[in-house]
Every structure is written in structure tokens, then in C-alpha cells.
Symmetry: C2
Subunit: 379 residues, 2 copies
């Protein structure tokens, strides 16, 4: 960890018109903080699935090759032609990565608000966190309570606010309980803690008995395994018990979103009194918020006509609810950072280590229970 903050390493992702992805580290000058800004020495930043979209884009990481030196490694990989269309907006532009992180304020601007943060541990959101130093506005920092370490505060925003966004969306759109897929994830565990605490029915869909165990151990009441032969029956029963008509799906591809809508329709019809040729009149909604399976979404449409499927993202949701309600959610995260919103990481890596093929092979899989934390100032 250098005492010189004038420059710092920053991870960059570049997709060229030729279809080549290039990930590298560049030494960038640290901006001089304006009156209302601070410079943070970033000490912890998670690799979230939402970061991988920018970090590796549509590249096929099975084609990844390492070059460069130990201190200045370079990763290259091929983007399949079919994936290039979605990359059109970022071609030939070297992009910094990392949605959120935490660190210590090492330099401040002249305002009182900025000076008050000197030496404080803060959580941050706003991109370019895979950097040794990050200059940002005071308002973009969330000061953490004394005794909170940067790793404890690194994931203050994306997962906690996404989980809270799900229960908020449920209330605002008139549903009474939730379904969540890839439910044993860090985010899924948080969501269970929130729902248990707030008395919300939650149906957890997992893809193995091991994942079911993780959730049972933290007190989850409804856990169904999509690989079990009785999956549709188990899911329907859980939907009848909870009354869930809203699902958040991290997987996206395959038949799961449609299976959830179908099971919701069967559950609704179990209690319906009159036959309708168009299916039940209960609104059934699935929001896709991730893409663990990048394959096509396949809907058999055996769920009547009263349904919706759509994309869901945290930032448009926060914009919709407005700053006052957003601040309430953030305050809850800070209050419960070491309990409800505690994150667990399997590995802490330096910036050069992010570019090691053996690590890429693990974190690019987006597998539950393989969570990485980057410490850009790790020696």
C-alpha cells in the first residue's frame, strides 16, 4: 500500500470492433478533490454478477488468454459474433469497472462536509471501484459506523438494496408474498433474513439439495429444488401456502420463469370458483433481474392471459421511489450491516489476481457460493 496517492492502478475492460475483449490494469492519475469531494483508498469491492456484465461483457471466457507481465497482466478473449450486437454502445472504449466498494478517506476537498470524512471508513457506489483510489462526491459516500471494516461495508448497496427493492416492489404492486430463484446466493440469504424479520412469505427456488440445506440452516420456511422430480408440485404447494404472485428471477434463461407463472396459475385456479377461458384473473408477475443462464427464455404460456414478465433493475427502481424513500432503505442497511446484510466472500484478491485465468474460471461461472472480494490495495 503506497503512501503516494498521486496515481493508482485501475482495472479496465475494452471490447474492440474486431470482437476482442481486453482486460488490463492502467496507472491513472488520482483527481484532485473539488471542495465537496473526497479521495478514498479503496480496500474492498465485490465482484457481483452485475459487474461481470461490464467486466467480461458477451465474451466467451473459455477463449481467455493471459499475456503481459506479472504486475501488468493482460487478459484477452473472443466475443462471439452473436454477442457483438449488444456490445455496440461500448466498442473501442476503455471502461473502468466495479459498482460498489468501501475504503478509507485519505484526502478531502475544502468544504466542512468533506473534511469531516477524513480518515473515515465509507461505503461507495458509482462505478470504477476496481481502482486503488477513487475520487467522489461527499453525497456519494455512506459513512460506516465506528468499528466497521471495509470488507464489512463493501457490499452495502447492490445486494442489500436489491433485496429490499424486492420486498418494496411487492408491497407497491399489491402482492403479498415472494418467489426468489438462485435463492441460496448471498442476495438470497439476505432476502430470507429480511422476509423472516418482516413476516413476508418467501418461496426459495434452488438448484441442488446442498443449496436447500444452506437456506434451511438460516431458517427458510419454503425451499423447493428445481432439480427434484416433484418440483412443479412442490412449487405449487408453496405458492398456495404463501399466496405469492410475484417472483424475482436471477437466472433468466430456460423454462424456469414460465414454470413459475404456470405454478402460480395452477395455485390461483385451485381456489377459483368460476371457469374463465382466459385463465385466472389473478395477476402473476415475474421480474428477471439477472442472467445466470444467458440462453433464451422459453415460455410455454400455460398460465392464462393475466401475467407479466419484465426486466428489473435496482437503479431505475430507486429513481422511481425517489430519494426520501431510498434514504430509508439505505439507513436500514447501515443499521443491520452486521446481521441481516452481512456478506460472505470465499476469496480476497488483488487487482493483478483478478486477471489470473484460474480466478476468472471461478468467478465468471457466477456460481452460488463462489463470491470474490477485490482489495485494490492488497500488497
Amino acid at each position: 500500500m503506497s503512501a503516494d496517492t498521486k496515481t493508482g492502478l485501475q482495472l479496465r475492460s475494452l471490447i474492440k470492433k474486431s470482437g476482442d475483449l481486453e482486460i488490463s490494469l492502467v496507472d491513472v492519475p488520482t483527481p484532485e478533490p473539488g471542495p465537496d469531494e473526497v479521495v478514498v483508498r479503496v480496500e474492498a469491492s465485490p465482484i457481483n454478477p452485475s459487474d461481470l456484465g461490464l467486466l467480461i461483457g458477451a465474451a466467451d471466457m473459455a477463449t481467455a488468454k493471459a499475456s503481459g507481465t506479472k504486475d501488468s497482466p493482460v487478459i484477452t478473449a473472443k466475443v462471439p459474433e452473436a454477442g457483438m450486437k449488444a456490445m455496440a454502445g461500448r466498442l473501442d472504449e476503455s471502461m473502468p469497472v466495479g459498482n460498489e466498494g468501501a475504503g478509507v478517506v485519505v484526502k478531502t476537498g475544502s468544504s466542512d462536509a468533506a473534511k469531516a470524512l477524513m480518515g473515515k471508513t465509507v461505503a461507495m457506489i458509482g462505478g470504477a471501484m476496481y481502482s486503488q483510489y477513487r475520487c467522489l462526491k461527499v453525497a456519494e459516500c455512506l459513512p460506516l459506523p465506528a468499528g466497521t471494516t471495509p470488507p464489512e461495508g463493501a457490499s452495502c448497496f447492490v445486494n442489500p438494496l436489491t433485496a429490499l427493492g424486492m420486498t418494496e416492489t411487492m408491497r407497491r404492486e399489491g402482492h403479498k408474498a415472494l418467489v426468489h430463484t438462485a435463492a441460496a446466493s448471498n442476495l438470497g440469504q439476505m432476502l430470507n433474513k429480511i422476509c423472516l424479520k418482516d413476516g413476508i412469505g418467501l418461496v426459495n427456488i434452488v438448484r441442488s439439495p446442498q443449496q436447500a440445506d444452506i437456506l434451511h440452516k438460516i431458517g427458510a420456511k419454503h425451499v423447493v429444488d428445481s432439480t427434484a422430480p416433484t418440483f412443479m408440485e412442490d412449487l405449487t404447494n408453496a405458492l398456495v401456502e404463501t399466496g405469492a404472485t410475484l417472483a424475482f428471477d436471477a437466472i433468466g434463461g430456460g423454462k424456469l420463469a414460465g414454470q413459475i407463472l404456470t405454478a402460480m396459475e395452477i395455485a390461483a385456479n385451485r381456489t377459483a370458483k368460476v371457469y374463465s377461458r382466459y385463465g385466472s384473473s389473478v395477476h402473476k408477475q415475474v421480474y428477471i433481474y439477472g442472467g445466470l443462464d444467458l440462453g433464451p427464455t422459453i415460455l410455454n404460456r400455460a398460465f392464462g392471459m393475466t401475467w407479466g414478465l419484465g426486466g428489473w433493475l435496482l437503479f431505475p427502481f430507486l429513481q422511481k421511489i425517489g430519494p426520501a424513500d431510498g434514504a430509508k432503505l439505505r439507513q436500514r442497511v447501515v443499521d443491520e450491516l452486521k446481521t441481516t446484510f452481512a456478506s460472505h466472500y470465499n476469496k480476497v484478491v488483488s487487482l493483478p489476481e483478478v486477471l489470473q485465468l484460474d480466478h476468472i474460471a471461478v468467478y465468471a461461472k457466477r456460481a452460488t457460493g463462489e463470491k470474490y472480494l477485490i482489495n485494490p490495495n492488497k500488497g
Copy 2:
């Protein structure tokens, strides 16, 4: 046409627990009209795609067999096991069919409002229209202007209100132009007339050059053929020109809904200034309102995260906008019944003819340009 209104033929559709569909004609007593009711001799009722859902349900009409007599024919067909789940609510229940129709009031209740309708030609909605006589409330009748025949008034509700519901939904959900699939249909032609009259941009997607011709002849400006090799490019150009971000899809199955969302995303990104890893922030919406292709909907999700797909139905839409706004739409239909909302039929059949295998083979295909009208009192 019998002068005796005491009983009348009614078409019934029955799906048995055994998986057999049975379509037959039964002689039912005509109800005595209450004070505020009238009896209408039904003379025209269309076979809409929305009627086929109840008439043949999930049955495979390739297995259809005719039995019974000439005057009292019976059709039987097999429902594939995969389709039985969606039929659960109607099993072993003999159901009347026919959403809408028109006819002449032949008997009335004692109220002044009922008596005022005696001898009048009225349009009706409410089911069981494939009947010789239909008893219904005065409020459920739409009296037609003098000089309007029952065939002219037979399709006053489903297609006209669906087409108007599309432009209304566009306005209410903040879009500025529309996309419509299976666009050469009766409904699609109406929608073109509405959009031309109201100055709304409309992108018509058809499945053959012949269908494109139909629309060009009535003045459609944007017609793209999904079977052309340049389809995606043509569609994207039309979306850029019109700014359409809302589509109504009658097809449902296959890749079309996803292709529309993808083209909308490309169109939105053509004018976007900043790259977003989640795609454009323009909301793109497709509503599926029909099922011409009952196969699965396949979404490649190459359209960012700001999108929605859902079912859309006329009656929930009318409930949402309320009776006052609904009445305005109905009045427009009556005012423009012989122009904007004129329907064309290829065949007029009697009730026994509805049960002829050669006719079933045609109307069950749901093909554009093969529209049937039933006259239950045809001699």
C-alpha cells in the same frame, strides 16, 4: 326461421375428464324476459379467435370426427394430455359459446326501456351468442342506428374495442406509436384505419407479401414482412421512423415478440448518447393478446433490462378504464360502424354447418382472411 321462440338451438362445447372434446347442438328453452330484459333472435355472430379458445379449447382438431345426424351433428376430438392442465376449470361442464353478435328483439320485459327495443336491431356481448335466441339485460344491448343490418353489427365489440384499446393503452402508458402483428387481420385493418384517422404511427408486421398488399391498399404506411430476409433491418428502420416502443402481438409463440423487443432496443440505441451496460433506458413493451402460434414464446433477451412482456385482454382493460371511458369507445364504434369498424366475412354458416368438418378445418386454422359469421337462424 321459426316463429316459435319457446325453444331454440344452442351450440355447446364440452371437454370430458377422459380428454374428449364434444361439440353439439342442444334445444334449450328460451328464458322468459324479466322486466328489464329482452329476447333477441340472433342473426349474426362472428367466430373470433377469442371464441375458438372456448369452442375447441386445447383439442387437436386433426383428430376431429363427425357423428350424429344432419340436423343434430356431433363433433368429437381428442385433447392432448399436455393441454388438459389448462382445461381443468371447465371439465365435464357443457358450455355455451359466442362472445358477441347482433339480432332483432322479438320479445321484451315490462319496463319502458325494454319495450322501447321491440323490433329493433341490437348488438350484444356476453357469451352464448351461438344460440337462436338470447335473453339479456337492456343494458347489455347496443341499439344500432336505423339501416344497420345484424351482419353489419355482429362484430361491434371484440375487434373494434380491442383496436381502440390498443391506442388507448398506448396513450395511457406513455408511448407514441404502435407495432401490431398478424396485421392484415380484420382487427389489424381496423387498427390501421384508426391510426390513419388519429395520426398515430403504426408498424404493421405481416407474414407474406400478399398480406402486405392488403394493408398497402388501405393506406398503411409501415408494413414489414417477417418472412423477408431483411425483416430485422426493415423493422428497426420503421421503429426509428415511428418511435414505436409498444407492440401488440396476436401470435404469441415463437421468436417474434423477442425480435420486436430486440429491434426496439437497437432503434433506441441508435439515438442513445451514453453506453449503459444494461442496455437502453427506454421502456419497451410487448403485449400478447392472442395465440395464433400456441408454441412456446422464445426470448433471446438481447434487449437490455428495460422491457416488459405480458398478457393483454379486452375485458380487464375495460374494467381498468371504467364505464364512462368505455362508453366513449363504444359510441365511437357505433358512429363509425360502416367505415372504420366495418368487418368482412368469407362465409355465413348455420349452427349445424359450424359442426361440419370441412368448415372446422378452415376456421380452426385461425388464418387471416378466413373469417366466419354464424347465422343461428339461417334456414
